[in-house]
Symmetry: C2
Subunit: 419 residues, 2 copies
Amino acid sequence: MSIVVQKFGGTSVGDVERIRRVARIIADTHDQGHQVAVIVSAMGHTTDELVSLAGELVETPAGREFDALLITGEMVSASLMAMTLSSMGYKAVSLNGQQAGFLTEDLHNRARILEIDTGRVQYHLNNGEIVIVTGFQGINSKGDFTTLGRGGSDTSAVALAGALGAERCDIFTDVNGVYSSDPRVVPQAVKLDEITYIEMLELARVGAQVLHPRAVETARHANVQIRVRSTFYTDDMGTVVVGSIESGTRPVSGIASDENQARVAITGVPDQPGVAAKIFGSLASRNISVDMIIQSLNKQEINDIAFTVSLNDLQDALETLEKVKTEVNAESVVYDTDVAKVSIVGIGMIDRPGIAADMFEALSKAKINIKMIATSEIKISCLIQKEQAKQAVQEIHKVFFKDEDGQSIPLVADQKVGY
Amino acid sequence: MSIVVQKFGGTSVGDVERIRRVARIIADTHDQGHQVAVIVSAMGHTTDELVSLAGELVETPAGREFDALLITGEMVSASLMAMTLSSMGYKAVSLNGQQAGFLTEDLHNRARILEIDTGRVQYHLNNGEIVIVTGFQGINSKGDFTTLGRGGSDTSAVALAGALGAERCDIFTDVNGVYSSDPRVVPQAVKLDEITYIEMLELARVGAQVLHPRAVETARHANVQIRVRSTFYTDDMGTVVVGSIESGTRPVSGIASDENQARVAITGVPDQPGVAAKIFGSLASRNISVDMIIQSLNKQEINDIAFTVSLNDLQDALETLEKVKTEVNAESVVYDTDVAKVSIVGIGMIDRPGIAADMFEALSKAKINIKMIATSEIKISCLIQKEQAKQAVQEIHKVFFKDEDGQSIPLVADQKVGY
């Protein structure tokens, strides 16, 4: 009998009515002849409420006790879901991260899963039970609860699907799949039937929020087929995330923008070997991720080095660079927060020259100035002025999806949209 | 170094401000040179909220999943308390029922503690840490969480104190000790400095709610010294519950009333051997506790048998008796819910004749009619009309505590008073 893992996020189990709806989806999957293991997140804003409660008591909640607090949210929704299924006549059991065998690193608040001992999950599945597992959590070697950080429940689901050898992993969310762009920005955005892991990874990196990169990476590693589906439109089988898709379909899969960016430059850097290593080594040692690096060679063998960082890391980056500036005898450190990064991602662009030119052309026609450009095999990113980000995405979308009809997108009240 | 176990109920940790206050009490005890292990209940009405959430989803929440849900309340308060202590500069760690080694029966919703493996608690105590343990919960032999039922956290505390060989077990509550009667009913009620386990057990049985009988029984068995203290007036060392107290102190320790009672009678029962066994056997097989049994012999060898049951059990009791009536060829089943049971309890009455007479005299003077009487070695109970219960307690209190001055009783906003 094939195993299906299904994951339901906080919005999907946000209240009693939604828990009932989700229980029906799970029961239907079971009725179709599958063994079903389910990962649930905490109900609605439970986690946020626990975070704020802790925040009233201590300045920066963190570490072991913070994890011991947060894991209770998923325990509540898991047991409620198991109860509901039982009351519908199904055999169901809830398991917390420890009972489900999720062994993680010792690190708290953002531990990685090291291994899943599926013994108990498998036992209950073989016993005809639907198994409800708390997402986002595991235990470390000391027997203490840990949490997996942002996007943790997606990772829990994909990792469990991999460990169980599941036929597929359904990630239920409030959109019915992965779209070519954020439908709130681009009403003509189209739902993709298929997308590759690598495109999902790149899209996540440039601002799309459908699946957490760690979950996608886990799926790619374990070769788990992910389906991104809607809790509210279950007839729609959503978007499948797979290893590869037939070439020749489309050059671009997704267009995203990220307004949480800052551009930083260190100017007047002497052109000597080892200077760039010093700059980026210092940033790396403070755990600051850097993107879109551009080095421009001036006259007199003096360089300007510019790059982008996430807005959250800006302050740390500036402090680090001020020190580096003195050490390498550079001129000044400047920054710009009025920027957005607009990116196109598509595995199809590998074989197709001219995609970048099409993108620049679209921006140019709309009189949008490009401040920086960065490209990879399957991604082109442009840094532009922040207030032009939405327009840029719309113009670029017109170019790459010009002939397709927009699909109507089912919206629900408190929808978290895909991008 | 001596170990002190301290237990804080839901009201004591009801909000952020109160958690801070309790953390200060714990820290002070630690500063006095004790190793401190703490049992906490869920914050305020958390448990009730979880119960009602489950009640919206299933008709009668029960069993394994209900326990898996309820235990999260204590996990939240335990981790918040450990965080708060850490932020005050103390080393603290929270342990859930499993981590703290509470092994219980397999039974859910009201499991008994079988054994406490104190290894991990002891390890942290020896390491200079304050250990915060979730009350009300443990795990069974399958590794599933169980709960201990009503009064569970008191039992957790006393059992842990016993297992650790603690110097004492402080039960913090919203009153500053055990009173001679409910201060809301009898303003002259006095706080007792000492009371025996056996008196506490009897008082709990006749309506006082200071400590759960199971906790008292556990304390008696393990010879744990309990102190009932106030979270809000910590200078007051409260009431000590001990094995024995010097005789000659007082004849009566407490006066309580219980309005949650019904009187049931089966009349016209043929006076044959085995009939009473049949009646009470049937009730026992439905788990109905019976109190104050009176059998009156009529003429013609026909009996009336009357007894009291808790109001919650009345419907079940009547159904059972209707069947029994036919079987034993009795005449009718009648009942009365307009009753209250007023009781006096005191180990001192063993050596003193005339205590019962004093009680009846007090009721008689107040023109209160006695419907039934039941006595034991250290308790006398009278069933009277419900609306006279408060007056009865006041009149009886005057007789046995006539010369003592009333102590002013510190009241807090949402006080759960001792009786």
